[in-house]
C-alpha cells in the first residue's frame, strides 16, 4: 500500500501513524524545536509544521491563538522553513510537512517557495486553502522537487473523493467532520463510512484529523484509518505550559508535555 517514494522512503510504517501539528514559533522557535523532539520521542511519524497566518480560515480558536503568539514572536513562512534544518541539527529525523495558507506562498512565489523547501530538506507541503482545482501548478512543482503535496478530503467532497484520493501523495488528510480545527467530544458514525470510501481509492496512507482530542479517539480512528493527525489538543498542552516557561520552569513544562502526549497516544 505504501508507495516507495512516500517521503523519500523516510516513512517506515503504514499504520497507526501519529502525525502531530505544531505552529512554528509558538511560543518561540526554540520551544518549537523542543516540543518537536519530544513528539518524536513519543512516536510521531511525521511532523506537521504550521506556518502562522493572520487569517486562518480553516482553524478554530486554539490554532488561531497559537498563530497570533507565533506572529507576535516574529515568525514567517521563510523563517518556518528555515527552522527545519535547525530541527534536524537537534536530532529530528521524521519527515516534516510544512502546513501553510496560500497567500504567504504567493508572496514568496511558487518557484522560490519550492526552492526553499528543497534547500531546507522539507519532505512535504500542505496548503489548506488550495483545493484540487486551484493547485495544478503547485502539484507539478512539488512533483519536480519530489516533495509530497498533501491533499485534504472532506465528508462532503462526494464525487471529488475519487479524484482527490487517486492523486494523493504522501498521505491523505481526511477531515473527520465539517467545521474548523478544534477539539471535539464525539466522532460520528458517518465519519467512518466516509473513511472507508476514501480508502477504496487511495494508494497512500489515510490519516484522520479535526477534533481528535483523547486516547479513545486515537484508538477508534486507528481501527478505521492508517493514522491520526492531532493539532489543537497538542497546542492546548503547549499553551498550558506557557506560564511555567515564563516563570523559568521550562524543564517542568517540557516534562508535562511529554506526559500528556504519552497519555494521548498510548492511553
Amino acid at each position: 500500500m505504501l508507495t516507495k517514494t512516500a517521503f523519500q522512503g523516510k516513512l517506515t510504517k503504514t499504520e497507526n501513524l501519529f502525525i502531530p501539528f505544531v505552529v512554528a514559533g509558538d511560543p518561540s522557535p526554540e520551544l518549537t524545536i523542543e516540543y518537536a523532539l519530544r513528539l518524536q520521542e513519543q512516536g510521531a511519524d511525521i511532523l506537521e509544521l504550521g506556518v502562522p497566518y493572520s487569517d486562518p480560515l480553516a482553524d478554530g480558536p486554539t490554532i488561531q491563538r497559537a498563530a497570533k503568539r507565533a506572529l507576535n514572536a516574529g515568525m514567517s513562512l521563510r523563517k518556518a522553513i528555515r527552522l527545519v534544518p535547525e530541527l534536524r541539527k537537534h536530532g529530528l529525523e521524521i519527515p516534516v510537512v510544512i502546513f501553510t495558507y496560500y497567500n504567504p506562498v504567493l508572496q514568496v512565489g511558487h518557484e522560490d517557495f519550492f526552492e526553499l523547501l528543497e534547500e531546507n530538506g522539507v519532505e512535504g507541503v500542505l496548503i489548506p486553502d488550495l483545493p484540487f482545482e486551484e493547485s495544478e501548478e503547485v502539484r507539478t512543482l512539488a512533483e519536480e522537487k519530489s516533495i509530497e503535496f498533501i491533499s485534504l478530503v472532506a465528508p462532503n467532497s462526494d464525487q471529488r473523493i475519487k479524484q482527490i484520493a487517486e492523486n494523493a501523495k504522501g498521505f491523505l488528510y481526511c477531515v473527520s467532520t465539517l467545521g474548523v480545527t478544534g477539539e471535539r467530544n464525539e466522532m460520528s458514525k458517518e465519519a467512518f463510512d466516509f473513511i472507508e470510501r476514501v480508502r477504496e481509492h487511495s494508494s497512500v496512507p489515510v490519516a484522520v484529523g479535526f477534533g481528535i482530542s483523547n486516547y479513545e479517539h486515537v484508538k477508534l480512528v486507528n481501527e478505521y484509518a492508517d493514522g491520526v493527525i492531532i493539532g489543537s489538543k497538542i497546542i492546548r498542552v503547549i499553551e498550558a505550559g506557557i506560564e511555567k516557561v515564563e516563570q523559568g520552569r521550562r524543564e517542568e513544562a517540557l516534562q508535562d508535555f511529554s506526559q500528556e502526549i504519552e497519555k494521548l497516544i498510548k492511553g
Binding site: 504567493l106 482545482e133 486551484e134 472532506a154 477531515v175 467545521g179 474548523v180
Partner: protein, 401 residues
Amino acid sequence: MLQVFPDVRGRFGDFGGKYVPETLMGPLQELEDALDEAMNDEAFLDEYHHVLQEYAGRPTALTYGDKITKELGGAKIYLKREDLNHTGAHKLNNAIGQALLAKRMGKKKIIAETGAGQHGVASATVAAKFGLECKVFMGEEDIRRQELNVFRMKLLGAEVISVSSGNGTLKDATNEAIRYWVANCEDHFYLIGSVVGPHPYPRMVRNFQRVIGDESREQFQAVEPVLPDRIYACVGGGSNAMGMFYPFLEDDVELVGVEAAGKGTDTPEHAATLTKGTPGVIHGSLTYLMQDENGQITEPYSISAGLDYPGIGPEHAHLFKSKRVRYEAITDQEALDALKLLTETEGIIPAIETAHALAQAFKEAGSMSEAQTILINVSGRGDKDMATLMDHFKEEVDHAH
C-alpha cells in the same frame, strides 16, 4: 469580450477563483448549481424584480443636480439615488436576491458578515420579510462603533454575534462567518454582502446589483441624448460600483472607482486596496489586498466603515489591471467636504462611503465642458453616520445658525 467573465473556473482574467478549504468546495458547487438554475428561471427573476419594486421601492430616482452643477461650473451632474432604497442603501438589492435563492434552496437559516452594519441590517430585514433565521457576524470593535445599527438588527429579530478574533473588524467578522458556514453548510446559506469571496459569490452579487446600472442607463437615456461621459462610484468590496459599472462595460463611458485614502495614501492609515495593495488571496478569492512583505493581511483604515476592508472584489482587480476602470483614492477630509457640499446644495445627506465618489467627481466636474455629463452612484444615505458627522461638523453648524 468582458461580459463572459467570470469563466467556468470563476476567473475574471487573472483574478477570482475558489481558494477555500476542501469542506467548502461542495457547498460552493451546490450554490453555483442552484444559482444557475434560478437565474435561468423566469419565475425566479420575476419574483426578484417584483420584490424590488413593491418592497424595496425600486426603481430609485435619477436626480439632476442643478445646483451642484451650477456651483462647480462644468459637466452636468446626475445622481443615482440608491439612498432612497429601503433600508437606506444599495445593499438590500443583493440581500433580496440571495434570500430568495436561500429559500429556493430550502435553507431556512442565513448568516451574514457586516462592518458598518448596513449589510447586516439588509440581511436582518430580508430574514424578517421571508421568515428566515438570521445570524450576523460583526467585529467587537464595529459593534462598539455602530451601536444604532446593532440595535436595528436586533429589533429586526437577528442575532448579532460579536467577533473578537483578529482586530474585531469586518475582515475578522468575514473570517468567522466563513468558519461558521464551514461547520453548518448543510442547512445554512451564507449571504455575502459584497462582490468578494470565492466563486460564484462575486458574480452572484454583481448580478443582483446590476439593477443599479440597468435602471440608470434607461433613466439617463430618457433625459439625455447620449450616455454619460463619466460614471463614479465608491469602492470598498465594490458591490455598488460593480452593479453600476457592469451594464456600461462595453460602452464608450469612462468609469471611475473611488477608494478610501483615509488619512492619505502616503500614510499607513488608508483602505486604498488597488492604489496601494498587491495581488494575493483573501476570503477565498485571488485579488488585490493590503498585506505585509510576508503575506500577512494588514488592517485598513477609513473614516467610513463601509470602505474599511483590506481586499476588493476580483472583478475590480481585473478591471483595474485591464485599465477598463480608473481607480482613484479620496481622503477622509475630502469626503467630508464633499458630503457637506452635496447636503447644502441639493438637500441630500449621503453616506460617508458615497461621499468618496462625490469628492472625486466634484474634483473633475469643473474642468469638464458644459456639454458633458457625469453620473454618480449615491450608494446610501447618511443617517447612519450622524454620530461621526456631529463629531466633525457640530461646532461649525451650530456656530453658523
